[in-house]
Amino acid sequence: MKTTLLGFVLRRVGNSLWQLLWTHLLTAVTMAVTLFVFGGFMLLQVNLERLLRVWGDQIQITAYLAKGVGGADAQLLLQRVRSLPEVFLVRLTTQEQAWRDFQTALGSQSGLLDGLPPDVLPASLEIAFKPAQRDSAIIEEFAQRLRREKDVAAVEYPQAWVERLSLIILAVQWVKWIIGGLLFLGTFFIVGNAVKLALLARKEEVEIMQLIGASEQLIQAPFVLEGMIQGLMAGAISLAILWGMFVFLRQALPTLAGVLMPVARPEFLDPTGIALLLAIGALLGAAGSLFSLRRFIKTWKASPRVA
């Protein structure tokens, strides 16, 4: 498009935004509701994935040694496990160490342990995996091998939780697209109707432009651009509300955040997520505009109204 025509289109967009300010704002707010819901699911998904990643990074197997296994036997087992290719780090906690750790953890309540024998807790091996080996199948197979060791009484690892969280994330992802899709469809028609209103308000102008030789693209471009601007406004509004709610929840629910995110605090959408939400808004606005334009402009006959 020529620069002069671009200037013309931008002037028309500016005039329209100003003249139909409330119509545009109302449409943008309606779109913002949809984008807010979608963005909320995005935010939830991002943080659950982050949680899963943090848990995954921390995933370790605890192998509790059989009663009476300690000293040289425990050291031998430690050496054998350390030499396995999957293992990144392995730490032996003796019965004495486990007892001391437990006492420390109880702090002022450690008196509760009075009378209990200090060897009530078993010795254990805490095994961390190399990053490439942090796969549920590998870990499960590794745990099975450990269980077959005669010096190992029990093997524990939080695999069930990891799998459950993965399922929740998958569900969130599906809900995001299903609910988001339905809302997008509804918003698409709302935007289409808003554009129809704008078109009806400017019907005469459009007809006159057709008569004086404006190309279809030149007539349509301002409406499409307006739709995109509405979508971007809606995206910005939804992001602002999301941010406000995110900050509020992070402050209001520190305990919950602490439980769920012992290592990583909840995070807002990254720049890619923000750009994605804005782009979806712009796309939604432009598509809604085009949909209405194609339906209406072609049905209008620009003509002198004399038989």
Partner: protein, 229 residues
């Protein structure tokens, strides 16, 4: 310049707006399309600026069959055609000069150049005190002159006017037609549709006489007078 070859236009279900019209209009010619309401004058104009397409036959402008034009080419064709209507069709939200400049801006002329040219045209048409007036603040005659200025801003090869005097008093109507036919001095062809025979008879120009979709005569002024009687 304009050739109709056995052109008919039928609106569904079976309204014959134009029947088997063949005619030629030469470059620089001034032509009245005369006839009563419903004769097919507006349909004929719509066919020329490709608002409608013929049901049968061909319309050639400068040798090109306009039925085969793409939508982009139709827009380009319309840029070369100035249109004037009975009800003026000016945008009420724009001033006189903005209404005129709009036609130049849509073809890519800069805002500044469009305004300058629009101002010059309004001055030429005697509206130099009304550049910034809203259309509704102007008289009917003045509004029609603004519409004529808009039709002229892109130096059209052809000006089509559909009942341009329908909303004007006698003096304003006469002035409007004088201005329209003066456009021929710029080398443009002018086609004016009207049902006002008194006006037709005042101008020594060709008259295409339509009745019920038929071209019943292609006359000159003296002949038109006799038909009118």
């Amino acid at each position: 310049m304009i050739q109709f070859e056995q052109v008919s236009k039928i609106y569904p279900p079976a309204f014959h707006a134009l029947n088997d019209i063949s005619l030629n209009i030469n470059k620089g010619e001034g032509v009245f399309l005369a006839g009563p309401s419903g004769a097919g004058k507006s349909t004929l104009l719509k066919l020329i600026f490709r608002e409608e397409e013929p049901s049968t036959g061909r319309i050639l402008i400068d040798g090109k069959n306009i039925s085969r034009l793409t939508s982009r080419a139709v827009a380009a064709l319309r840029c070369k055609i100035g249109l004037v209507f009975q009800e003026f069709r000016l945008l009420p939200g724009l001033s006189a000069v903005e209404n005129v400049a709009l036609a130049a801006e849509v073809v890519g002329v800069t805002k500044q150049a469009s305004r300058t040219k629009a101002g010059n045209l309004l001055q030429e048409l005697g509206l130099n005190d009304h550049y910034d007036a809203a259309p509704l603040a102007l008289s009917a005659g003045e509004r029609q002159r603004v519409a004529i200025a808009r039709a002229l801003i892109n130096d059209p090869m052809l000006v089509l006017a559909d009942e341009p005097t329908g909303n004007l008093d006698a003096d304003a109507a006469h002035e409007c037609l004088r201005l329209l036919f003066k456009i021929r001095d710029r080398g443009a062809t002018v086609v004016v549709a009207t049902h006002d025979l008194d006006l037709v008879n005042r101008y020594g120009t060709r008259v295409l006489w339509l009745r019920q979709g038929e071209l019943i005569d292609d006359l000159h002024r003296s002949e038109a007078r006799s038909v009118a009687r």
